[in-house]
């Protein structure tokens, strides 16, 4: 179990983590038309309702598309798989995908994973999120962490 607890680098705050190390992504839901948004936003883009509700999002989705990043900014250990994950609420979330590049497939089922993700400016480990192949989907093995830790 990780000792990393700081996830302040994710701005705006998009990740809720419990003391047990589980958690979920945070979005907003329009109380009028039901639309969901990620990252959270202040006003509904469909019906302009204000005061959207903060909600936890589903932890399972499917891979819409992906890439393997071979050149990145300092702090990210290359290569890593990056993809857009469609959640049942109708939101698309960008995340690193914890899967070997050759096993990534458009449409594959994925689960959210709360795990160590890089360091803050003082070198303290942070918690972040990836998506990993859904249990029982038979796809993939835990890939090497793709952020310097």
């Amino acid at each position: 179990m990780t000792t990393a607890t700081n996830y302040a680098s994710f701005k705006p705050a998009v990740l809720h983590v419990t003391p047990e190390g589980t958690g979920h992504l945070i979005g907003t839901r329009c109380p009028t038309c039901g639309a969901h948004f990620f990252p959270p936003r202040a006003v509904c883009s469909r019906c302009l309702t204000e005061d959207l509700q903060t909600v936890g999002l589903s932890d399972a989705g499917t891979l819409y598309t992906f890439t393997v990043i071979h050149q990145s900014t300092p702090g990210f250990q290359i290569p890593y798989v990056l993809g857009y994950v469609d959640l049942p609420e109708g939101v698309r979330v960008l995340a690193q995908i914890g899967v070997a590049a050759e096993q990534a497939r458009i449409g594959m089922p994925l689960d959210l994973s709360i795990e160590p993700f890089g360091e803050d400016k003082d070198g303290n480990p942070m918690l972040g999120y990836r998506f990993r192949p859904a249990r029982g989907s038979g796809a993939g093995t835990p890939a090497a962490a793709s952020v310097k830790e």
């Binding site: 680098s9 948004f37 071979h70 890593y80 990056l82 939101v91």
Partner: protein
């Protein structure tokens, strides 16, 4: 409202100008445009400068060099559409009859600011998980290839075409042709995109003199080209995820421009579009309605989008061949359109060119389908 014309254009060579700074590049481009228009610089009533990373009051530093201090100037930042947005501000000032002669220029000294790929703002939640700009387009490329069954080799035909066009443009960063094999064997950047699928880091500047119709008659020397539309849109926030193999933002911006210009997509004879990455050119021209959805790579394969083809795309070499100094890019596209429409395209001249279109699209903000998009239509 006034109709709007372009009476002068100028640009530096796009290249890695290690021994120069942005003010020197901006000054060269502005002076070239003034000279091209054969204009007394005292006629210029206002100026707009597009740039992204050149610091506070960069445009004013250029004005001071060219003897234009005192007139109103606004620096315009709109990601890769900054230069095009500067032209649009000039267009609006003239449409509103506030001004008759306006300078719009764009400039960027990128090599002194970046070594590798540009990244979204570090506070962006997508940047926080490792998004890069090539990564954005790589994911779109994978989706496009999956949906339309196109191949990696077909995608490589875009940089091959644009480098061939650039080889005919003495102001382009790259002067050599490349082959498909070189694209496929270049360094991987963001799979499936490789180095030669990506526009380079470039320095450069470009400038245009924009006027009212009355001023164009007085000052244009018979060479004025009409700026029939200059449209700008920002990305919308969709309540449902949209297809990444098509560009609603480009489509909406183009529709606005076609309407304002009274021009149908079928009337466009050639286009300069924002090919920051190979796949981007396909997404742009299909969003603009110049080619059918999923059909562009086949058209490139047939030669339709090459000089001499049915609808030349990026005759200047585009961002892939000419280079991509962010703020200068949108202005340089209009420089190319004006030169083609005047018949000054030299080895790149498109026969019977009467309607040209320029498209820019830039920036990344989480949750929207693109930050800023411009479409400008010029007619002879």
């Amino acid at each position: 409202m006034n109709d709007v014309y372009v009476i002068g254009v100028g640009m530096t060579r796009f290249a890695k100008h290690a021994d120069r700074d942005v003010v020197s590049l901006g000054t060269e481009a502005v002076r070239a445009a003034i000279k091209d228009a054969n204009l007394d610089p005292r006629r210029i009533e206002a100026a707009y400068c597009g740039h992204v990373f050149q610091g506070m009051a960069a445009g004013q530093r250029v004005l001071a060099q060219v003897g234009l201090a005192g007139i109103p100037l606004a620096n315009v930042e709109n990601a890769c559409s900054s230069g095009a947005t500067a032209i649009r501000e000039a267009y609006l000032a003239i449409r509103a009859q506030e001004c008759e002669v306006v300078l719009a220029f764009g400039m960027e000294h990128l090599t002194s600011k970046f070594k590798g790929a540009l990244t979204p703002d570090e506070d962006d939640p997508e940047a926080a998980v490792g998004l890069t700009m090539p990564g954005v387009y790589a994911m779109r490329a994978r989706r496009y290839m999956e949906e339309y069954g196109t191949t990696r080799e077909q995608l490589a035909l875009i940089p091959v075409k644009n480098r061939a066009h650039a080889a005919l443009n003495p102001l382009a960063q790259f002067q050599d042709r490349i082959a498909v094999k070189q694209v496929l064997e270049s360094r991987p950047i963001a799979d499936p995109l490789r180095l030669l699928d990506c526009s380079p880091i470039s320095d450069g500047a470009a400038a245009v003199i924009v006027t009212s119709d009355a001023a164009a008659r007085r000052l244009g020397g018979g060479r004025a080209i009409r700026l029939a539309a200059s449209s700008l849109r920002t990305g919308s926030v969709e309540p449902e995820p949209t297809s990444m193999s098509f560009e609603p933002l480009t489509h909406a911006t183009a529709r606005d421009a076609y309407e304002r210009a009274g021009i149908a997509p079928e009337e466009v004879g050639f286009a300069e579009v924002h090919d920051c990455f190979s796949i981007a050119e396909a997404l742009r021209v299909e969003g603009l309605g110049l080619f059918g959805r999923g059909e562009y790579l086949l058209a490139v394969e047939r030669g339709d989008a090459s000089l001499g083809g049915r609808m030349p795309v990026n005759p200047s070499g585009g961002l892939l061949g000419k280079g991509h100094p962010l703020g200068a890019t949108g202005v340089a596209q209009v420089v190319e359109l004006v030169r083609q429409l005047r018949g000054e395209g030299a080895e790149r001249q498109i026969e019977n060119a009467t309607v040209g279109l320029a498209h820019c699209r830039g920036g990344k903000a989480a949750g929207v389908d693109g930050a800023a998009c411009t479409v400008q239509i010029l007619t002879r």
